[in-house]
Symmetry: C2
Subunit: 309 residues, 2 copies
């Protein structure tokens, strides 16, 4: 009788890059304001746990996202983090200038695949949003920074329902043309299912967008985030966005809208022998520690399972 | 620009049978004792929502599982449910006799793939457990009942760690030889990852056990239940056990060990055009209603998303 084998699924690579968005996308959706020293400690602990790509904060208007109003201060507090990929989100040229002044080394821009979300969330049309990202990309590239692009609402939109694949393809192509090195496909409302993921990746491949330029970014609103992410990885997307502890999805909130929990993703990948470079126990400890700072249990199933008595 | 297509994953069938275990596996793990009238209403509402296969209760010793001590009463209260597959769990001949007296039409037996869990949970060795199921199967088949078999701990065991695949294969073959019509592969502690699922199905296929005789039964302790279930379906297992509202996994408990939520599974399947016969809004309403009876939010992400203000 032999021991169980570690078997990867068909199409699984040997390695997957986890792009950690907890400090930005996670904390910006938490009701609690976290002190800057705690945020810095959070990022440092993530680095110690082996997270090599981290979105640390966002230079949006402090009035819009008070949770991240300390972006400048956080970057000063963190100082240079050599050997790591650290990214900050910037909504416009003003945000980029703040990010540059604070020493950012990579920025991220974002647009919506749908007109309704663009109007309602960004306050401008998709065409206007693309003019903004064009300016940001040009100035950032001039300054020697890499730029990551997010496309929100790739699979469903609260106003429009399902999203035509062609709109997503156009948005991805536009951001690539502006010089983004990697495009993260966002399921902002967390409604996507696995078949949609495959369909979108096929359509992108058909117009010459290689999966190696893509990342996926799933929220777990309908419990689909891990299944969708693994499906994307099987189809060639080797960077997955996730949030330590499933930050941003409060287990007490009626409608949890957090990101895929990094721990749940890592459990799945390590379980089939796919390397992430992440020290899972250290990451679980970090998320357990942060949950205590936030005063509530982590929404990550792995964190809850491994930190219980 | 065309509308998004509903695309099934490779290997997906047109239809999947959901085997609803909420009234049994769900409620037996809830701290709250639910009145028999509420249980009967729960089952009837599940039937109205299109659930066609339901495990309604268990005839274990009332002292061991007080949550289900009213099994006889519940079956009398429910009366015949023609056209449905209703199953009751029986641990031994005494339980079978109670089930027969109460009018059961199908029973389920269970064994463990590991010696430690057998000794610690069932109080006997695996060999002894198989002698019990042999007796139960023989008498049930004589009485004209179908028998479902559960194999617990197919992927991991709290005492032994990983479980050799050969032990699981032997357990499945033993139950099939005793006359079970369907074997449900249980990840009782919820630690499995997708590669293990494929490996076990391959090994079972290699010894002539067709996937059509199998079901899968995942607990969501580590957040892997949906990904594992979809992987099993892609590999030919067309019956998936799930629990309405993710019953049995309390969101306030540090270590949630509930089943895969039926709603989260149905969202995934319907999203790629796979039919289940289930009316999802009616099911969500039912789980929302039961959560109110239990005095806490449902652990199902879909239920929480669709019942929030």
């Amino acid at each position: 009788m032999r021991a169980p084998q570690v078997v990867p699924l068909a199409g699984m690579p040997r390695q997957v890059s986890v792009f950690e968005v907890g400090p930005r996308d996670g904390l910006q959706n938490e009701p609690t304001l976290v002190p800057v020293a705690t945020k810095a400690q959070f990022v440092r602990r993530l680095v110690s746990a082996g997270l090599a790509a981290i979105e640390t904060t966002s230079f949006v208007h402090p009035g819009r996202v008070p949770q991240l109003a300390d972006a400048d201060e956080l970057l000063r507090e963190l100082g240079p983090l050599p050997g790591l990929r650290t990214v900050v989100l910037v909504p416009n040229l003003r945000g980029l200038d703040r990010a540059l002044a604070a020493g950012a080394t990579e920025v991220a821009v974002f647009i919506s695949a749908t007109e309704s979300f663009s109007q309602n969330n960004l306050g401008c049309s998709r065409a206007q949003a693309l003019r903004v990202t064009q300016q940001v990309c040009a100035r950032a590239l001039d300054a020697g920074l890499a730029v990551r692009g997010y496309v929100s609402m790739c699979f469903g939109d609260p106003w429009e329902g399902s999203v035509p694949v062609g709109q997503v393809v156009e948005a991805v192509q536009a951001l690539l043309a502006q010089g983004c090195t990697q495009i993260s496909l966002g399921d902002t409302v967390g409604v996507a299912t696995t078949g949609q993921v495959v369909e979108l990746l096929r359509e992108l491949d058909a117009v010459g967008v290689p999966a190696s330029r893509l990342a996926v970014h799933f929220h777990d609103t309908y419990g689909q985030a891990l299944a969708n992410s693994l499906t994307a990885v099987q189809h060639g997307v080797w960077t997955v966005d996730a949030s330590a502890g499933g930050l941003g999805g409060c287990p007490f909130a009626a409608s949890a809208t957090g990101n895929l929990a990094t721990e749940d993703l890592v459990w799945a990948l390590h379980g089939m022998g796919v390397d992430t470079g992440i020290d899972l126990p250290a990451l679980v400890q970090t998320s357990g520690w942060l949950a205590a700072q936030l005063g509530r249990p982590s929404p990550s199933r792995v964190v809850r399972a491994l930190t219980s008595g």
